[in-house]
Amino acid sequence: MKNNIRVERAILNMTQQQLAEQIGVSRQTINAMESNKYVPSTVLALKIARLFGKTVEEIFTLEVED
Protein backbone atom coordinates (compact mmCIF):
# COMPACT_ATOMS: atom_id res chain seq x y z
CA MET A 1 0.00 0.00 0.00
CA LYS A 2 1.22 3.47 -0.93
CA ASN A 3 0.31 6.75 0.71
CA ASN A 4 0.92 10.44 0.20
CA ILE A 5 1.04 11.48 3.85
CA ARG A 6 4.38 13.18 3.28
CA VAL A 7 2.93 15.32 0.47
CA GLU A 8 -0.22 16.22 2.41
CA ARG A 9 1.86 17.08 5.42
CA ALA A 10 4.08 19.34 3.29
CA ILE A 11 0.98 21.14 1.98
CA LEU A 12 -0.13 21.86 5.55
CA ASN A 13 3.47 22.75 6.40
CA MET A 14 3.58 20.39 9.38
CA THR A 15 6.48 18.43 10.85
CA GLN A 16 6.18 14.69 11.58
CA GLN A 17 6.10 15.58 15.27
CA GLN A 18 3.22 18.05 14.83
CA LEU A 19 1.20 15.60 12.77
CA ALA A 20 1.85 12.88 15.36
CA GLU A 21 0.62 15.11 18.18
CA GLN A 22 -2.50 16.12 16.24
CA ILE A 23 -3.64 12.54 15.79
CA GLY A 24 -2.25 11.19 19.05
CA VAL A 25 0.42 8.79 17.85
CA SER A 26 4.21 8.72 18.14
CA ARG A 27 6.58 10.38 15.69
CA GLN A 28 7.98 6.96 14.80
CA THR A 29 4.55 5.89 13.57
CA ILE A 30 4.32 8.78 11.11
CA ASN A 31 7.87 8.11 9.96
CA ALA A 32 7.18 4.40 9.46
CA MET A 33 3.99 5.10 7.46
CA GLU A 34 5.69 7.70 5.26
CA SER A 35 8.50 5.31 4.44
CA ASN A 36 5.97 2.54 3.68
CA LYS A 37 7.17 0.35 6.53
CA TYR A 38 3.91 0.28 8.38
CA VAL A 39 0.32 -0.19 7.23
CA PRO A 40 -1.94 1.72 9.66
CA SER A 41 -5.16 0.33 11.10
CA THR A 42 -8.46 1.54 9.65
CA VAL A 43 -8.98 3.79 12.68
CA LEU A 44 -5.64 5.51 12.18
CA ALA A 45 -6.14 5.83 8.41
CA LEU A 46 -9.54 7.48 9.00
CA LYS A 47 -8.04 9.89 11.55
CA ILE A 48 -5.30 10.92 9.11
CA ALA A 49 -7.80 11.41 6.29
CA ARG A 50 -10.05 13.51 8.53
CA LEU A 51 -7.15 15.73 9.58
CA PHE A 52 -6.21 16.35 5.94
CA GLY A 53 -9.87 16.87 5.01
CA LYS A 54 -9.78 14.15 2.34
CA THR A 55 -11.16 10.67 1.86
CA VAL A 56 -9.05 7.65 2.81
CA GLU A 57 -8.68 6.66 -0.88
CA GLU A 58 -7.18 10.03 -1.69
CA ILE A 59 -4.39 9.37 0.77
CA PHE A 60 -3.93 5.60 0.68
CA THR A 61 -3.81 3.54 -2.52
CA LEU A 62 -3.48 -0.18 -3.03
CA GLU A 63 -0.55 -1.52 -5.01
CA VAL A 64 -0.49 -4.49 -7.38
CA GLU A 65 1.05 -6.88 -4.82
CA ASP A 66 -1.69 -6.11 -2.25
Partner: protein, 292 residues
Amino acid sequence: MHQPLLLHHRFKAIGLAVLIPSFICWLIWTFDVYDFPFLKTGRGGGILDQRNHSLVEELIFTGLAAGLLMIAFSREKIEDEYIMTLRLQSLQWAVLVNSLLLVLATWIFYGEDFLKVMIYNMLTVLIIFVIRFQYMLYSKKSPKRTIFSLPPRLKKIGLLIVIACIIAYVVQIFEIYDFPFLETGNSMESSFLNNLNYNWIDEILTTGMTVGLIFMTFAREKSEDEFIVSIRLRSLQAAVLLNYGLLFLMNWFFFEGDFVNILIYNMFTVLIIFVIWFNITLRKTSSSLIPE
Protein backbone atom coordinates in the same frame (compact mmCIF):
# COMPACT_ATOMS: atom_id res chain seq x y z
CA MET B 1 -9.87 -3.16 20.45
CA HIS B 2 -8.45 -5.44 23.07
CA GLN B 3 -5.87 -3.75 25.23
CA PRO B 4 -2.65 -5.67 25.57
CA LEU B 5 -1.20 -6.36 28.99
CA LEU B 6 1.02 -3.41 29.75
CA LEU B 7 2.02 -1.45 32.81
CA HIS B 8 1.95 2.30 33.26
CA HIS B 9 4.84 4.23 31.71
CA ARG B 10 6.36 5.08 35.10
CA PHE B 11 7.09 1.39 35.75
CA LYS B 12 10.00 1.73 33.37
CA ALA B 13 11.82 3.88 35.92
CA ILE B 14 10.67 1.68 38.82
CA GLY B 15 11.93 -1.34 36.88
CA LEU B 16 15.37 0.23 36.52
CA ALA B 17 15.34 1.13 40.21
CA VAL B 18 14.73 -2.55 41.04
CA LEU B 19 17.04 -3.97 38.40
CA ILE B 20 20.18 -1.98 39.20
CA PRO B 21 20.40 -2.84 42.94
CA SER B 22 19.57 -6.48 42.17
CA PHE B 23 22.32 -6.56 39.59
CA ILE B 24 24.81 -5.02 42.03
CA CYS B 25 23.81 -7.57 44.70
CA TRP B 26 24.27 -10.32 42.15
CA LEU B 27 27.79 -9.08 41.33
CA ILE B 28 28.67 -8.79 45.04
CA TRP B 29 27.35 -12.25 45.73
CA THR B 30 28.86 -13.95 42.66
CA PHE B 31 32.31 -12.54 43.28
CA ASP B 32 32.16 -13.41 46.99
CA VAL B 33 32.56 -9.85 48.17
CA TYR B 34 29.83 -10.29 50.74
CA ASP B 35 27.54 -13.27 51.27
CA PHE B 36 24.52 -11.73 53.05
CA PRO B 37 24.74 -13.89 56.22
CA PHE B 38 21.45 -12.56 57.56
CA LEU B 39 19.62 -14.29 54.71
CA LYS B 40 20.89 -17.79 55.53
CA THR B 41 18.09 -20.19 56.26
CA GLY B 42 20.13 -23.19 57.38
CA ARG B 43 18.18 -25.32 54.93
CA GLY B 44 19.74 -27.50 52.18
CA GLY B 45 21.79 -26.07 49.31
CA GLY B 46 20.54 -23.66 46.68
CA ILE B 47 20.99 -23.99 42.95
CA LEU B 48 24.38 -22.33 42.72
CA ASP B 49 25.78 -22.77 46.18
CA GLN B 50 25.41 -26.38 47.28
CA ARG B 51 26.86 -26.01 50.78
CA ASN B 52 24.81 -23.36 52.34
CA HIS B 53 21.35 -22.29 51.42
CA SER B 54 20.35 -18.70 51.77
CA LEU B 55 17.46 -16.72 50.37
CA VAL B 56 19.88 -14.61 48.37
CA GLU B 57 19.34 -16.50 45.11
CA GLU B 58 15.59 -16.24 45.31
CA LEU B 59 15.71 -12.55 46.13
CA ILE B 60 18.26 -11.71 43.46
CA PHE B 61 16.42 -13.68 40.80
CA THR B 62 13.10 -12.16 41.78
CA GLY B 63 14.66 -8.68 41.71
CA LEU B 64 16.33 -9.16 38.33
CA ALA B 65 13.27 -10.74 36.73
CA ALA B 66 10.80 -8.26 38.23
CA GLY B 67 12.96 -5.31 37.15
CA LEU B 68 13.36 -6.65 33.61
CA LEU B 69 9.67 -7.50 33.34
CA MET B 70 8.68 -3.98 34.40
CA ILE B 71 11.07 -2.46 31.87
CA ALA B 72 9.95 -4.83 29.14
CA PHE B 73 6.22 -4.49 29.68
CA SER B 74 5.70 -0.87 30.59
CA ARG B 75 3.98 1.39 28.12
CA GLU B 76 6.01 3.89 26.12
CA LYS B 77 5.01 7.52 26.69
CA ILE B 78 2.91 7.37 23.55
CA GLU B 79 1.96 3.75 23.04
CA ASP B 80 0.10 3.53 19.75
CA GLU B 81 -0.67 0.66 17.39
CA TYR B 82 2.65 0.94 15.59
CA ILE B 83 4.69 0.85 18.83
CA MET B 84 2.63 -2.19 19.84
CA THR B 85 3.52 -3.89 16.55
CA LEU B 86 7.20 -3.10 17.09
CA ARG B 87 6.95 -4.42 20.63
CA LEU B 88 5.42 -7.71 19.60
CA GLN B 89 7.76 -8.17 16.64
CA SER B 90 10.72 -7.59 18.92
CA LEU B 91 9.33 -10.15 21.33
CA GLN B 92 9.02 -12.67 18.53
CA TRP B 93 12.58 -11.92 17.45
CA ALA B 94 13.82 -12.30 21.03
CA VAL B 95 12.11 -15.67 21.52
CA LEU B 96 13.54 -16.95 18.25
CA VAL B 97 17.09 -15.72 18.88
CA ASN B 98 17.00 -17.01 22.44
CA SER B 99 15.92 -20.49 21.30
CA LEU B 100 18.65 -20.63 18.68
CA LEU B 101 21.30 -19.51 21.17
CA LEU B 102 20.09 -22.17 23.57
CA VAL B 103 20.43 -24.90 20.94
CA LEU B 104 23.95 -23.69 20.25
CA ALA B 105 24.76 -23.62 23.97
CA THR B 106 23.61 -27.24 24.38
CA TRP B 107 26.33 -28.35 22.00
CA ILE B 108 29.06 -26.15 23.46
CA PHE B 109 28.66 -26.37 27.23
CA TYR B 110 28.58 -29.37 29.56
CA GLY B 111 27.74 -30.17 33.16
CA GLU B 112 28.22 -27.20 35.52
CA ASP B 113 28.67 -24.75 32.67
CA PHE B 114 25.41 -25.82 31.12
CA LEU B 115 23.70 -25.35 34.46
CA LYS B 116 24.86 -21.74 34.35
CA VAL B 117 23.57 -21.39 30.79
CA MET B 118 20.16 -22.57 31.98
CA ILE B 119 20.22 -20.13 34.88
CA TYR B 120 21.03 -17.20 32.61
CA ASN B 121 18.43 -18.49 30.20
CA MET B 122 15.77 -17.56 32.73
CA LEU B 123 16.46 -13.92 31.94
CA THR B 124 17.92 -13.81 28.43
CA VAL B 125 14.59 -13.60 26.55
CA LEU B 126 13.78 -10.42 28.44
CA ILE B 127 17.25 -8.93 28.01
CA ILE B 128 17.31 -9.65 24.27
CA PHE B 129 13.79 -8.26 23.96
CA VAL B 130 14.52 -5.00 25.79
CA ILE B 131 17.61 -4.36 23.66
CA ARG B 132 15.90 -5.26 20.39
CA PHE B 133 12.81 -3.18 21.14
CA GLN B 134 14.80 -0.07 22.06
CA TYR B 135 16.91 -0.54 18.94
CA MET B 136 13.80 -0.82 16.73
CA LEU B 137 12.28 2.28 18.37
CA TYR B 138 15.25 4.57 18.14
CA SER B 139 17.43 3.32 15.30
CA LYS B 140 17.89 5.97 12.64
CA LYS B 141 18.18 3.46 9.83
CA SER B 142 14.75 2.00 10.65
CA PRO B 143 15.46 -1.70 10.24
CA LYS B 144 13.17 -3.91 8.22
CA ARG B 145 10.10 -4.64 10.28
CA THR B 146 8.84 -7.99 9.24
CA ILE B 147 7.17 -10.85 10.98
CA PHE B 148 9.28 -13.97 10.78
CA SER B 149 7.32 -16.96 9.53
CA LEU B 150 7.83 -20.39 8.07
CA PRO B 151 5.84 -22.34 5.44
CA PRO B 152 2.55 -23.84 6.78
CA ARG B 153 3.54 -27.46 6.23
CA LEU B 154 6.27 -27.18 8.85
CA LYS B 155 3.56 -27.10 11.53
CA LYS B 156 2.87 -30.83 11.12
CA ILE B 157 6.55 -31.67 10.69
CA GLY B 158 7.27 -29.73 13.90
CA LEU B 159 4.59 -31.68 15.76
CA LEU B 160 6.06 -34.99 14.57
CA ILE B 161 9.56 -33.96 15.70
CA VAL B 162 8.24 -32.91 19.12
CA ILE B 163 6.32 -36.18 19.58
CA ALA B 164 9.38 -38.21 18.53
CA CYS B 165 11.54 -36.31 21.03
CA ILE B 166 9.05 -36.81 23.86
CA ILE B 167 8.90 -40.55 23.13
CA ALA B 168 12.71 -40.78 23.05
CA TYR B 169 12.88 -38.80 26.30
CA VAL B 170 10.39 -41.10 28.05
CA VAL B 171 12.20 -44.18 26.73
CA GLN B 172 15.45 -42.86 28.14
CA ILE B 173 14.06 -41.70 31.50
CA PHE B 174 12.46 -45.09 32.21
CA GLU B 175 15.60 -46.85 31.03
CA ILE B 176 13.77 -48.89 28.42
CA TYR B 177 16.57 -48.27 25.96
CA ASP B 178 19.63 -46.07 26.36
CA PHE B 179 20.67 -45.38 22.78
CA PRO B 180 24.17 -46.97 23.10
CA PHE B 181 25.15 -45.85 19.59
CA LEU B 182 25.05 -42.24 20.77
CA GLU B 183 27.64 -42.72 23.50
CA THR B 184 30.81 -40.75 23.05
CA GLY B 185 32.85 -43.00 25.32
CA ASN B 186 34.07 -39.97 27.21
CA SER B 187 32.90 -40.59 30.76
CA MET B 188 34.63 -37.52 32.16
CA GLU B 189 32.33 -35.08 30.47
CA SER B 190 28.99 -35.43 32.15
CA SER B 191 25.94 -34.05 30.44
CA PHE B 192 23.10 -32.28 32.15
CA LEU B 193 20.48 -35.02 32.31
CA ASN B 194 22.65 -38.02 32.90
CA ASN B 195 25.75 -37.66 35.03
CA LEU B 196 27.14 -41.17 34.70
CA ASN B 197 27.64 -41.79 31.09
CA TYR B 198 28.12 -39.18 28.52
CA ASN B 199 26.20 -39.49 25.29
CA TRP B 200 24.67 -37.24 22.66
CA ILE B 201 21.08 -37.91 23.60
CA ASP B 202 20.56 -34.70 25.59
CA GLU B 203 21.90 -32.50 22.85
CA ILE B 204 19.86 -34.27 20.21
CA LEU B 205 16.66 -34.20 22.24
CA THR B 206 17.05 -30.53 23.17
CA THR B 207 17.80 -29.54 19.61
CA GLY B 208 14.91 -31.66 18.34
CA MET B 209 12.43 -30.25 20.84
CA THR B 210 13.51 -26.68 20.15
CA VAL B 211 13.49 -27.03 16.38
CA GLY B 212 10.14 -28.84 16.45
CA LEU B 213 8.60 -26.19 18.69
CA ILE B 214 10.06 -23.37 16.58
CA PHE B 215 8.45 -24.96 13.51
CA MET B 216 5.11 -25.16 15.32
CA THR B 217 5.44 -21.61 16.64
CA PHE B 218 6.51 -19.88 13.47
CA ALA B 219 4.74 -21.84 10.75
CA ARG B 220 2.10 -19.72 9.04
CA GLU B 221 -1.54 -20.75 9.18
CA LYS B 222 -2.92 -21.72 5.77
CA SER B 223 -4.59 -18.35 5.48
CA GLU B 224 -2.37 -16.14 7.57
CA ASP B 225 -3.73 -12.59 7.52
CA GLU B 226 -3.20 -9.53 9.70
CA PHE B 227 -5.84 -10.67 12.18
CA ILE B 228 -4.11 -14.02 12.74
CA VAL B 229 -0.76 -12.23 13.02
CA SER B 230 -2.21 -10.06 15.78
CA ILE B 231 -3.53 -13.14 17.63
CA ARG B 232 -0.13 -14.75 17.17
CA LEU B 233 1.78 -11.82 18.64
CA ARG B 234 -0.60 -11.35 21.58
CA SER B 235 -0.38 -15.07 22.37
CA LEU B 236 3.39 -14.76 22.41
CA GLN B 237 3.21 -11.95 24.92
CA ALA B 238 0.78 -13.97 27.05
CA ALA B 239 3.11 -16.98 26.87
CA VAL B 240 6.15 -14.98 27.99
CA LEU B 241 4.23 -13.42 30.88
CA LEU B 242 2.71 -16.73 31.99
CA ASN B 243 6.10 -18.39 31.79
CA TYR B 244 7.60 -15.77 34.10
CA GLY B 245 4.66 -16.04 36.46
CA LEU B 246 5.34 -19.78 36.79
CA LEU B 247 9.08 -19.24 37.07
CA PHE B 248 8.60 -16.76 39.93
CA LEU B 249 6.58 -19.34 41.84
CA MET B 250 8.96 -22.21 41.12
CA ASN B 251 11.91 -20.10 42.19
CA TRP B 252 10.47 -20.00 45.71
CA PHE B 253 9.19 -23.58 45.91
CA PHE B 254 11.90 -25.77 44.44
CA PHE B 255 15.53 -26.21 45.38
CA GLU B 256 18.61 -27.95 44.08
CA GLY B 257 17.86 -30.94 41.84
CA ASP B 258 14.18 -30.08 41.55
CA PHE B 259 15.00 -26.58 40.45
CA VAL B 260 17.40 -27.94 37.86
CA ASN B 261 14.48 -29.89 36.42
CA ILE B 262 12.47 -26.68 36.30
CA LEU B 263 15.36 -25.05 34.44
CA ILE B 264 15.39 -27.88 31.92
CA TYR B 265 11.65 -27.57 31.29
CA ASN B 266 12.03 -23.80 31.16
CA MET B 267 14.06 -24.18 27.97
CA PHE B 268 10.83 -25.16 26.21
CA THR B 269 7.94 -23.73 28.21
CA VAL B 270 7.60 -20.35 26.46
CA LEU B 271 7.21 -22.10 23.11
CA ILE B 272 4.93 -24.81 24.51
CA ILE B 273 2.66 -22.31 26.27
CA PHE B 274 2.58 -20.22 23.09
CA VAL B 275 1.61 -23.14 20.84
CA ILE B 276 -1.23 -24.15 23.19
CA TRP B 277 -2.45 -20.57 23.82
CA PHE B 278 -2.33 -19.55 20.16
CA ASN B 279 -4.20 -22.62 18.93
CA ILE B 280 -6.89 -22.32 21.59
CA THR B 281 -7.39 -18.61 20.79
CA LEU B 282 -7.52 -19.35 17.09
CA ARG B 283 -10.10 -22.13 17.50
CA LYS B 284 -12.19 -19.97 19.82
CA THR B 285 -12.23 -17.07 17.36
CA SER B 286 -13.06 -19.23 14.39
CA SER B 287 -15.91 -20.99 16.22
CA SER B 288 -17.42 -17.65 17.20
CA LEU B 289 -17.30 -16.51 13.58
CA ILE B 290 -19.80 -19.08 12.26
CA PRO B 291 -22.21 -17.17 9.98
CA GLU B 292 -25.85 -16.89 11.06
